[in-house]
């Protein structure tokens, strides 16, 4: 692989463009931020400075436009990094131009969070196809270090290995290789859980589901609040894409709830549309900010204080155990809980364990359980699936999977009781569980 010193970012004004550009500049590269106008490119620079908390990072960044600078910047670049909108035709039209201007040895990457890498490379030159891959960073890349590297069939395998190594050592990433399948690994597994919770919210309520599958189950943020942060349009694009192009054991979990479709049509996209909101909406009343919560059945919002979430005893016990650092006891208490709320929580959490680890295999999304663990831990800030298995116990986990008619992943069938599955020496597993 050629040394990566000069990088061009296409779509540098966008969140992912500016964020990725910051990562490359912070790793010591000279980065050209390209956008439609210099003003737009400059917006990206300001974002990068804010992410780096550094004015001087601008020393490594120059600005330009597609019309004026694409040819020269691409002809000098070691890495051309595409971060345009998630629009296949737009991306392909840019790649056609890039192919004309780039050096044959330069690397071309897309930050796409789930579109087909192979399709993007269609019609491009041999050297382009050999040097093209996905490098999927998560937002914001300055904080979330999980990264997916996605080759297509013709990507040089040596390049894939070297890019992973480079991302880890020079750019501080936790990188995995994922197959070129819809939504890749992290979003495939993550959005299955998020969408399933959104489906369940219709019957059980938004605030209740966020409580029941809350941070105590091994995540930094409750699921529906996460969809609000990501944006409902992005959520829809991801689950629709997976629903349309895969057919696995959890297919129906990717069907976007009808109430979400309706509200998206009315402009409810989550935090990015504060006037409409998403699952939650903040309104100012007098000098006070009041949080409203969506009733999916009616599409109306009500004061969250009037939608009193009933406390569930086992949830409170598990949280109490996390609070004092007794994670193993906490997860065992969770697994041993009974009653309708426990059944619901088990269905989602064991569903996550099953679905995530079933994505491991030759024909699947990743090669090893470790890959899924790393991307869920460092891309989503969720407890990696094998951490849950280790804490709950292998036999107890399998018992739950069978009870809920969830396929038992091979990695669990092959494991020995008492054998630890999660083996990342520097990861504190306690960080995934909030009290």
């Amino acid at each position: 692989m050629i040394p990566i010193q000069k990088v061009v970012v296409l779509g540098a004004n966008g969140t992912m463009g500016a964020g990725s550009g910051e990562v490359f500049a912070a790793g010591g590269c000279d980065v050209v931020f390209l956008a439609r106008t210099v003003e737009k490119a400059h917006e990206g620079l300001v974002t990068a400075q804010n992410l780096a908390k550094s004015v001087r990072i601008a020393d490594r960044i120059s600005l330009g436009t597609y019309d004026q600078d694409l040819e020269e910047a691409c002809s000098k670049a070691d890495l051309i990094f595409e971060a345009l909108a998630e629009d296949m035709e737009l991306k392909k039209s840019f790649f056609a131009k890039v192919d004309k201007f780039r050096r044959p040895d330069s690397i071309v990457a897309t930050v796409s969070s789930g579109l087909s890498i192979a399709e993007m490379a269609l019609g491009r030159s041999d050297s382009f196809r050999r040097n093209f891959l996905g490098i999927h960073l998560f937002n914001p890349p300055s904080v979330i270090v999980g990264t997916e590297v996605i080759p297509h069939k013709e990507t040089d395998p040596q390049l894939v290995r070297e890019i992973v190594e480079l991302l880890e050592r020079r750019f501080g990433r936790v990188a995995i290789v994922a197959a070129d399948k819809p939504a890749f690994a992290g979003n495939r597994v993550g959005f299955k859980v998020l969408n399933e919770v959104a489906q369940l919210a219709e019957e059980h309520g938004v605030a209740f589901m966020d409580y029941l599958i809350g941070p105590y189950t091994g995540r930094a943020m409750p699921p529906l609040a996460t969809i609000d942060l990501v944006g409902w349009d992005v959520h829809k694009a991801i689950v629709d894409n997976v629903y349309a192009h895969t057919n696995d054991e959890a297919h129906e979990a990717f069907r976007l709830p009808a109430y979400m479709d309706d509200l998206i049509a009315h402009g409810h996209l989550g935090n990015k549309t504060p006037q409409f909101g998403g699952f939650y909406r903040r309104v100012k009343e007098g000098g006070q900010t009041i949080q409203l919560v969506l009733d999916p059945k009616t599409g109306a919002y009500k004061d969250i204080r009037d939608d009193g979430v009933r406390k569930v005893p086992f949830v409170e016990e598990v949280r109490g155990l996390h609070h004092v650092g007794r994670y193993r006891e906490a997860l065992r208490r969770f697994a041993a809980a009974t009653g309708p709320e426990a059944e619901l929580a088990h269905k989602v959490i064991f569903g996550y364990v099953s679905y995530a680890l079933n994505r491991v295999g030759e024909q699947e999304v990743v090669r090893e359980a470790r890959d899924i663990d790393r991307i869920m831990g460092f891309g989503f800030n969720w407890a990696p699936p094998t951490v849950l298995v280790d804490l709950i116990g292998l036999e107890e986990t399998i018992r739950h999977l069978e009870k809920h008619e969830l396929p038992v992943p091979k990695v669990l069938r092959d494991a020995r009781p008492g054998q630890r599955l999660f083996r990342e020496p520097y990861v504190n597993i306690g960080r995934f569980f909030a009290g």
Partner: protein
């Protein structure tokens, strides 16, 4: 000659974590450090005979005192374990190690557990700055002053400037080296932060002045962290080694220690040292005591240093006080790369307080654990090749309580 004290290992929590965000009680930090340490060393809880906790101000930050008692909560086997908590501001962790070592030297116990712990992200920076002010003479030096400690350590820089001259670019280089080293430490607080020497030299909206000549890039940051360490007598270390098929000679020791306390007021320290080539002579003496007890002639008897860089000025002071340069000439070791990884005397391969983080009461224990990891070749990407002996320097207050250890092989 005192009985030897062996270091069997320990565990550091990820210093990037925010335990308040995780809604954790401080006992969770202690528990993770101890359970992690037991696993790392494969020691049994029943083998532990005494526990010492270093902590500065849990009463203020976490509304919790009596931290020694929380060791007992970690494992049912610990019920009845004798414990104590030790406080000497930012040197609390080292004081806990000294207490445990003294008991082993005296033959009271064979296997001691030491935990350093501080939870600091519970309050806003201004409140935290005020709490830290209690490590100075609060009424005289901190009351009503915003961020008193950066100002005190800024004055340490001013005193160097007055006596010998001091360029801020040298302080910026110290900052950049610590941040750079931290990038290789998977447990460092700032491992994914951006910093460069250019950035550290600038004053701008991100790198603001905190007090005097001290900017944000000169400061260690507010950190949550806990560290455990197991210390053993020769008898316990021999059993430990035998069980693992090691020779006792492969287990590192605390070869020497120094411990001195200067007048608490910064002005009093400076007045006392006015005719001394060393700005903080008691710190110099603690280092010399450690060298003497370890049987090494000077700093070149160690291969690396983990020092107290609560601010860049404290590391600047450490360079000449360790004797790497003549007094007032620390800048030479900065300019010629001596203190960098691959240099003649790498300082803070871990990233130090600026890069790895500074959970106040945990720092002294973290330094000795890092020294242990260095001399047993367990530092991975921040390993100093061939390190056989490593020195630590841990300072409480404005150069007030100083502890230095030499860890490694005779």
């Amino acid at each position: 000659m005192a009985a030897p004290v062996y270091v069997l290992g320990g565990y550091q929590t990820d210093f990037a974590r925010n335990w308040k965000k995780e809604n954790k009680h401080i006992v969770a930090m202690i528990r993770e450090a101890v359970e992690g340490g037991l696993e790392a060393t494969q020691l049994e809880p029943k083998d532990i005979q005494v526990g010492h906790v270093g902590n500065f101000a849990a009463e203020l930050y976490a509304m919790q005192g009596h931290l020694g008692a929380f060791l007992v909560d970690v494992d049912p086997t610990f019920s009845g374990l004798p414990t104590a908590r030790h406080e000497a501001a930012c040197a609390s962790g080292s004081i806990a190690i000294l207490a445990a070592s003294a008991e082993i030297e005296a033959g009271r116990y064979d296997l001691a557990l030491v935990v350093g712990v501080e939870q600091m992200k519970t309050v806003d920076p201004a409140k935290g700055g005020e709490f830290l002010g209690t490590a100075a003479w609060y009424e005289k030096e901190a009351k009503g002053i915003e961020f008193p400690f950066p100002k005190l350590f800024g004055r340490l820089g001013d005193e160097y400037d007055r006596r010998y001259g001091l360029k801020d670019e040298h302080l910026a280089h110290i900052s950049a080296v610590n941040y750079s080293n931290a990038k290789r430490n998977p447990l460092a607080q700032t491992r994914n932060w951006y910093m460069s020497e250019d950035q550290a030299r600038c004053v701008d909206k991100f790198n603001t002045v905190i007090g005097g000549r001290i900017k944000i890039s000169d400061c260690s940051q507010v950190t949550d962290g806990a560290v455990s360490l197991f210390l053993a007598s020769e008898k316990a270390a021999a059993e430990y080694a035998k069980k693992r098929g090691l020779s006792l000679e492969r287990i590192p020791r605390i070869l020497g220690w120094g411990h001195r306390t200067a007048p608490i007021e910064f002005d009093a320290k400076i007045a006392e040292s006015k005719n001394n080539p060393y700005v903080l002579p008691h710190t110099r003496q603690a280092i010399l005591d450690a060298f003497r007890r370890a049987g090494i002639a000077d700093v070149w008897g160690v291969q690396a240093i983990e020092t107290h860089d609560c601010f860049t000025t404290s590391e600047y002071m450490a360079i000449d006080h360790f004797g790497i340069t003549a007094p007032g000439e620390s800048w030479k070791a900065i300019e010629d790369g001596t203190i960098e990884m691959g240099g003649r005397m790498p300082i803070n391969p871990s990233g130090g307080l600026i890069g790895c983080g500074h959970p106040v009461g945990a720092t002294g224990v973290r330094q000795v654990l890092d020294a242990y990891k260095q001399v047993t070749n367990q530092c991975g990407d921040y390993q100093v090749e061939g390190a056989r002996r490593v020195a630590t320097l841990n300072i409480g207050g404005s150069g007030t309580t100083t502890v230095s250890f030499i860890v490694g092989f005779a």
